[in-house]
Symmetry: C2
Subunit: 368 residues, 2 copies
Amino acid sequence: MKIYCSKSDLNRSLSHASHAVPTRTTTKILECILVDIKDQMMYLTATDTNITIETALNVTAEGDCTFAVPSKLFSSIISKLPESEIMLDFDSMKSKLKIKSGRSVSEIVCFEGDEFPKIRTKEPEIRVSMNKESVKRMIRKTAFSASADEINGILTGVLFEFGEGNIRMVAVDAFRMAINNEPAEGMDQSFNVVIPAKMLTEVSKIISDDGDETLQMEIADKKAILIFDNCKVTVNTLSGKYIDYKRIISAETPTKIRVKREDLIASIDRASLLASATNNNMIKFNIEEDTIHISSLSDEGNIDESVEVIHEGNDFQIGFNARYLMDIFRNIDDEEIMLNMKDSISPCIVRPLSGERYQYLVLPIRIN
Amino acid sequence: MKIYCSKSDLNRSLSHASHAVPTRTTTKILECILVDIKDQMMYLTATDTNITIETALNVTAEGDCTFAVPSKLFSSIISKLPESEIMLDFDSMKSKLKIKSGRSVSEIVCFEGDEFPKIRTKEPEIRVSMNKESVKRMIRKTAFSASADEINGILTGVLFEFGEGNIRMVAVDAFRMAINNEPAEGMDQSFNVVIPAKMLTEVSKIISDDGDETLQMEIADKKAILIFDNCKVTVNTLSGKYIDYKRIISAETPTKIRVKREDLIASIDRASLLASATNNNMIKFNIEEDTIHISSLSDEGNIDESVEVIHEGNDFQIGFNARYLMDIFRNIDDEEIMLNMKDSISPCIVRPLSGERYQYLVLPIRIN
């Protein structure tokens, strides 16, 4: 059965779907992409059983058919073909897919479509529309703070809090927290869902800057379904009670330090050259009048940086993991930020100069 | 003692010299760069004892001094400083180097300059001038063909043959050979030297596209010294008798195939997707009238490519290691090339349509 499609469409759809193909598996069928031809559309599905990505493209086909084709080989061949029309020819008797373009002819041994795991989703209980760009931005600004350790269960996820006219994402691990808020026009439902951060990061990679303006989310039977552009991503949500994060950020922070973000990044970047992994990448902040002295020390030498700030409150010393600070400052876009602190053993809370668009919290390291 | 210099000058000189710092060593002093301040110049030297790179830059200094500073830390700090003047301050009593720029102050623990290995070179026996760009180009087009296995001694090197008005570089391993010729204006000496390919590749990385037009080579006491821009690179040459390569390329090749290089690259690139490392990356050429059929086969499927050619001579089948062919074709710049062959067990020699600028030879793989 012959199928005609554009190389660039197929290439893009394959590269999107491939994000769900497991990198390590002993199950041959999971290394495949399910190809489903139906009513002049091609649906490509890949899954590692935790995340399923389905993409769709227009094709010209002689009929309908379904087969599973090894993802890596199929994607590599398509990506290396010239930009023009491709003819696919699936021989269901031999279970082989022929790929023809110009003077190039390939044949790939396929698997039965039936062998591919079925992704069943029920009728959605909840359905919301969000701005696609703002979802992508919020994932970038929060997901890095979720726990990377599977043992931490629900904390490996990002909490989505939908409220009236507002979306909030929260991610927490043992040493830090990220909160981002964005206004959401027309949002009239209140509900929460926790989605694994690792999967959100994969999703953000396939959210293109063009295409649809909105991203639709459906919740059905402990699954979240994200629909945007020509993609449909299904992920298992995380169950359980999320940490009471509001209690953590309600701490009193009498010391306020207003600082240029780029100055802080440049100084921490240099100071961290002598921060060692064996000492939690520790750098020291010495807060004095209108200056933060940032320093690090090792057998090889020492680095002392001073950053001009506008400072209100106490003078004190405090130690931080340089990497945690950099993660935060690099994911903020504001020119100036406010560091809110209390003393050398209390967390530092990073906020914008005004408003509540974001809050980041990082725990200090005890200085010996 | 204070030294003032520009960040960008120091950064460039450090990054050039760093190419000679060994990646793995248990000798602390070899992880250092020797800094020698003399007559308002700073000379930076790094060595792994096989290759030594010395670079120079103008500075403003209060006097002369010498010390060795850990390369990685020094380079990292300098590269992360803003683009402006840097003040270095060497304290010989404490053996510490202070680096100051704006509000950043670092101190690095240094070693005595005396501990750094001395590079002694005698008065050169030979001195030649070459076009810098053409040396860089010829290294790129030959060095990849040298043997990567130290056990092969002189074949890990590139042979430089200097003749009247001409330079030739030759590299050979067990399966392939590369020869490149370029005219050299004013070349009036005839001599040969063999320089390790790995070191030439490092040298080519620091040959900039601007700066000096010429590169000077000196030979002194089994060392080759390459002088260009503000760099002086000293490498140990390889001794022994180089292989009689002219005998190998004098083979009779009655079959001539004229082909577009890009067509060949695209087809081999796709066909190699099914070529497996366990079978020497073998792809099959089936030469028939005005077409080369390029194919590969595995349990996963098969790929068949056909490339249009102008063909004179016999029809036959021949197997090649796809990687060896790609190395050659990607390093040629011509739009069309000529493949010169005899039969399925004789080497393929790649030449330009006219002239003798290059010759590449690759041995076939027996087809089972």
